[in-house]
Symmetry: C2
Subunit: 363 residues, 2 copies
């Protein structure tokens, strides 16, 4: 792999990159006020960084995990037996950083299986293979995002005001982003856009991360409190909406960050098209409809405090549902790397799985 | 006026009271973490407290202003001419504290006109009249709220989960509250309720004030981020909604805190009744519909910071519309002290103005 391929991050905004035996990650906990890139030389540090949310977003975590395994392999003894035993420990350490993230265990398993297959060729070959695979996983994710961006761009009118919720951006993926990939794709296609970013309480991914990364790329962005989206739509100031997805059911129901459903319901009322951008891997065809998607409740502190400031009285109850479900009937289209399901239904969703995706064509 | 009438605050939660020549106000800037009652002996201090938002909410500000004038009159010379000149200065100082609040100038004018009428009876009589009038203005506002609460209680089913937005509570009025007056009225009528309080970004009146005052009164309250109301409604967890109003047009369109329209639109989608509770004085019959109500844009800092924590990158644009307009068609009923406009329309709204209200019956 040539040097510039290893440094794809220089052309596309990424939250991490592989730098010749080191993993470099943007510390997202410090955004939006400080841009600090941490360098990791040890797999245990990478595991800690994942657990401590230096990096977040399922696809981004998968990339970091794959790089962490490659990092771990470099430091292990050259003798095959202790190397293999050590590698299993490295994989276990990283996979345990956030046990519920699917992309994390998927990336670690992919690396471990690759190592097992490559072991007959010797430790040096395994080290190289893990390193190349980590970069491949990262680039594959960026390629997916760029394909989503190119397909989705066609849905965005020139001059549009685009509303987004949460951060389905470069920072949540290997780079480029899904919903914000569509924004980037439209900008690359020469369209002039203005983006409204819902701040996205309680964790403020819109205010902190979406605003930061669009400003970084020179894309016009305005942050609004979540409560303001309805007023803007009623005044005709929003032309379309693009959000990401955490999980999509076979019928096209979409689980995404809490507040997404509210935006979709307002959009339906005002005739504003509501689009979901996500890699095909987000679609869980084992789930028939959104009703079967479990909704995680998260810690109260995200609601009761912002930074050090307490905003809810001591002893008052709170709710903190992390996601909500938007029924397929409110979704104009689901944009994936292999095509657009429009309108979403079992038929149009199934059709996406009959197509191939050649990520190397996007390099 | 008997002592216990002067201390109505002991029976009804009020954000202020008159304590024998002193004005005592709860410092709402420090809520929800600290309950501090400030004592004011000087009218200029009261003016400063209004300007610095120790007290907020238009009816509450009106009460504070009337008490401030009474306070000023006590400190003026006993000689009629310098007394009258001094009183005009006191009135101007207080009226200028927040020049745009209608209730503020209304209360000051009412006091000044009373003083002018009473001057022939001497300075001592004016001082007494201003003091009694300040208490009357305060008690009248509480009486309005209690009447709203009693009428509105009939609309709230026993066992209901009631959602509210912002703080239309005791803290925003002379006491008891409008939307939260309906909650208190239902509780006094023996109904068991659970209240969900939208946190109400950007200023967080729901999280900070509504939660505090309902907890204070022992009413079951749960704070949610604004983005969560839609998910709760879609799960059938909200039975009705009660909010206040900043201004109501003759056709029943309601201007209220930003985010109110979103709640109303979600309520319509889920068949949840959406009620507005407000004194009749909130209805501006000179305005035909909500389209004519101007919407104030407030400072960016309310959006970009929470306490000392910066949540939006430096240099990124924000919007901060203070209010939105809910069309009358989304409002099941407007609850006032003289009756309920159900459904709101020019006819039902006009009918409210054919009735009398005897606030002394509520003492």
């Amino acid at each position: 792999m040539s040097d510039d391929k290893r440094h794809l991050w220089k052309k596309v905004l990424s939250p991490l990159y592989w730098d010749d035996g080191k993993v470099v990650m943007l510390d997202q906990r410090l955004l939006p006020t400080r841009e600090v890139w941490n360098t990791y030389t040890d797999h245990a540090q990478v595991a800690d960084a994942i657990r401590e949310m230096v990096i977040r977003g399922a696809p981004a975590i998968g990339c970091a995990a794959a790089m962490g395994v490659a990092l771990g392999a470099r430091a292990l003894p050259g003798d095959p037996d202790p190397f293999w035993q050590g590698l299993l420990q490295v994989c276990a350490r990283i996979a345990g950083a956030r046990p519920t993230a699917v992309n994390l265990s998927w990336a670690v398993q992919r690396q471990q299986q690759l190592a097992e297959r490559t072991m007959p060729q010797g430790v040096l070959a395994v080290r190289r293979a893990l390193e190349d695979e980590a970069i491949a996983i990262w680039h594959e994710d960026i390629a997916c995002c760029r394909a989503i961006g190119k397909l989705g761009a066609e849905l965005i009118p020139d001059g549009a005001a685009v509303l987004t919720h949460c951060n389905a951006g470069a920072l949540a993926t290997g780079g480029y982003g899904t919903a914000l990939g569509v924004v980037r794709g439209a900008v690359e296609a020469g369209k002039r856009l203005r983006v409204y970013a819902d701040e996205t309480r309680p964790f403020l991914q819109g205010a902190r991360l979406t605003a930061w990364e669009l400003q970084h790329d020179g894309i016009d962005v305005t942050v609004i409190p979540d409560v303001m989206a309805g007023a803007l739509m009623s005044k005709g100031e929003i032309d379309c909406i693009v959000v990401g997805a955490d999980r999509i059911a076979r019928n096209g129901d979409v689980a995404n960050k809490i507040g997404t459903y509210t935006v979709a319901a307002l959009a339906a009322r005002h005739g504003v098209p509501f689009y979901v951008a996500a890699p095909r891997s987000t679609i869980d065809r084992a789930i028939a409809s959104g009703a079967a998607i479990p909704i995680e409740e998260r810690p109260a502190r995200e609601v009761t405090h912002v930074g050090a400031t307490q905003i809810v009285p001591e002893g008052v109850k709170t709710r903190n549902m992390a996601f909500d479900v938007t029924p397929a009937e409110l979704v104009a289209a689901i944009i994936t790397e292999v095509g657009i399901a429009r309108p979403p239904s079992e038929t149009t969703v199934d059709a996406l799985f009959e197509r191939d995706f050649d990520w190397r064509a996007w390099e």
